[in-house]
Symmetry: C2
């Protein structure tokens, strides 16, 4: 174990550059902690001549990340190029086939190909690690696979996309509309030019699918995650929620139900005074309920150069220390595909309707809800102007299926001016 | 690695019983996760015949924990007897000397003997682990030694004693006095009959000393922790703090300063709207600042059967998976004893004085503070009754040494009716 661990970095964007800085700054510390030197031997990126603000002259250069993954002087490949297929996938697969450990931040790739890659790694006897793929710097994969390894996991819940949390908290704090805040976020670099993957909930759903696998011993099943983005959340929703003591968060929830695995990523109401409700800006938070430990909460930066480099290096250090555990906490070959649970466990819902401001509409709507067994806890009509009447209803606990049936019926009413909004009120 | 890991449990109180329950409930799950069976082979406790609500008939019994630690059919000894010396120490040392791994929840023992025991373990090539010794179920030792292993640690800060946090939050929420809440806490089982170790800050300081060692690569140095308990915190202090937007917490802080290691465990004011300020009840929270990751926060139950068993089992599972890292994250033989930093980095302070209600006293006090360079940010005199005048001052940032000199001078005034209270306002 006094041989150096020789690492290669595929991708020299923000994260790759951060890893180089970390190794250059903390080389001595890493060696003391790992019991062996951790050295960079080779790197690869699209453009060789770009100034990245770090001295790369000591490292061998490869134009092709696949060639990088084949090098004899490399024990471990760090993949931080991104992209669920293409060069990233080819690089990782080549590394594993050549008996090299892999550390990656690539949630999209693992959400799609994680099972196959895990089997490949475990057959080769090497590690495939991805702490940086979930919740940025927070060591949550480690907490689940190791720190809570004695527990049956009851539920995972979390805010796992900093862009969405930034947008929602800015809307709540400043009263600015979704579109304006999104534009600001893009200018600040918190959101991509095409924000769909973030605001549509897809990025966060990738992360949830990985955590679910670890928590429940099931095959990664991204396709079964129920995904709803934050695009339809309005300032009115945020204000209405706040008036009732709630904040709206893009919340991921995974839980094993009798009928299968529930995986949801959707805007939810959570109590404003809970840790999740208090979480502001680009931070991430994961809340885990275990059958012995009870509830633990993990909070930290969800993205960025330093946090992502930190998570990558945590994996590298484990490998340097000789820790090789199954990719998803149990042998990949033995993971089962769970049935997908229905539309989520029963809950109370926040509903917002846009209705024509005319006599009898309210009674019709209430009777439809009643017919489907959806009972009303609170109702609040506001700002009607003779034409439209916004109406907010908080239901008692109900099944989502019953609610959806009722909402379909209400949507079909001539007096319904827009599709109803239904946001789950999550129990913390 | 398909050989079972054979564990022995020394101590069958709440925690020991919890471990037995966990192994009995989750045996199959533990085996899948560890890649090998995790089995209990032998147990030891003071009283053999006590009903502990679990079936112990399958395990060999030893009256003597030292004999337990010598058994040939044991690979790993879990020490959950407690006590910093005596049988616990003898049991652990015997186990290490006999080449057996040790997992312990014993913070007092490790705060005193951790360095010697770590060297013993590392020389024998076995693991000595103590996740359960710090912050209950929260996997914070793992987060520091592994999850943040790429970072230079800038500061650790935390609420690490559930009893104290329960007392302080109850005082804040109910307006009951310290003594009454302490009595309630004792009746609820949250506080010992002799509460000194908890309310005096000693238990939490043990934990801080262990985390400091891991974070800063120094020898455990409990003797240098500046300790102040919560016994002198009054309802007035809590109310005054709240009026200014602060909560009072028994806060541990460790940081490496140019002149040495700062370790403090003392009641501090923290912003009420911060995660630490929001922490209520018997929960624990640790906040870690790393140079790459920034700030991460870890929250969970600080004690109890399930959480402690969870932390113990996390260590056991690591060992079952073959992970043996240095006890304090770096080889014990290479750890250095740091100088102790002075009285802490500069900070603003909350001061409360009990003064005779007479002319000129305030001017005298203000001029003493001024003479020592302590400048006043806010001052508030309240409830004077012609005899005593309580006075609250919030200072600007000052050195503790200057403040202590000024307070000594003020204490010596004839008009000073009680020793001044000085609580640090911590920057989060």
């Amino acid at each position: 174990m006094t041989q150096p661990l020789r690492i290669a970095i595929a991708g020299l964007g923000t994260v790759g550059g951060g890893i180089v800085k970390m190794v250059q700054k903390h080389g001595h510390l890493l060696e003391k902690r790992a019991g062996r030197p951790v050295v960079i031997t080779a790197i690869s990126a699209r453009s060789r001549n770009k100034d990245r603000g770090v001295d790369l002259s000591a490292y061998a250069w490869e134009d092709d990340p696949v060639a990088l993954a084949r090098r004899d002087d490399v024990d471990l490949v760090i993949e931080v190029m991104g992209g669920e297929d293409g060069p990233a996938k080819a690089c990782v697969e080549t590394a594993l086939q050549n008996g090299k450990h892999v550390v990656t931040a690539n949630k999209a790739m693992l959400a799609m190909h994680g099972q196959a890659m895990a089997e490949m790694a475990e057959n080769a006897g090497v590690a495939l690690r991805y702490e940086a793929a979930v919740a940025g710097g927070i060591p949550i994969v480690k907490a689940l696979t190791e720190g809570l390894a004695g527990n049956g996991i009851l539920r995972i819940m979390g805010v796992m996309n900093g862009t969405c949390n930034y947008i929602l908290t800015e809307m709540e704090n400043t009263g600015a509309a979704y579109g304006d805040v999104l534009k600001d976020a893009q200018e600040l670099g918190y959101a991509e030019a095409d924000p769909t993957v973030d605001v549509g909930g897809i990025d966060a759903a990738h992360k949830l699918a990985l955590l679910s696998s670890v928590a429940f011993g099931t095959k990664v099943d991204f396709a079964s995650v129920q995904i709803e983005g934050i695009e339809r959340v309005t300032l009115d929703d945020i204000k209405n929620a706040r008036d009732m003591g709630y904040s709206i968060k893009l919340l991921g929830v995974a839980r094993m139900n009798p009928d299968g695995l529930e995986q949801r990523m959707q805007p939810c109401l959570v109590p404003s005074n809970s840790p999740l409700g208090q979480l502001s800006g680009v931070s991430n938070m994961v809340v885990v309920d275990g059958d012995f430990i009870g509830q633990t909460v993990y909070q930290g930066p969800g993205a960025g150069e330093g946090p992502t480099a930190s998570a990558i290096m945590a994996d590298v250090m484990d490998i340097a220390r000789g820790l090789i555990i199954p990719v998803f906490g149990q042998p990949a070959a033995g993971l089962v595909k769970s049935d997908a649970s229905g539309t989520g466990s029963d809950a109370a819902y926040y509903l917002r309707f846009s209705l024509q401001d005319q006599a009898g509409v309210l009674a019709t709507l209430a009777s439809i809800l009643g017919n489907y067994g959806v009972s009303i806890n609170r109702m609040h009509q506001y700002g009607h102007d003779g034409k439209t009447a916004p109406l907010v209803i908080v239901t008692h606990t109900t099944s989502r299926a019953a609610l959806d049936n009722a909402l379909a019926k209400i949507s079909a009413l001539a007096a319904s001016l827009a599709a109803p909004v239904a946001l789950r009120i999550e129990t913390i």
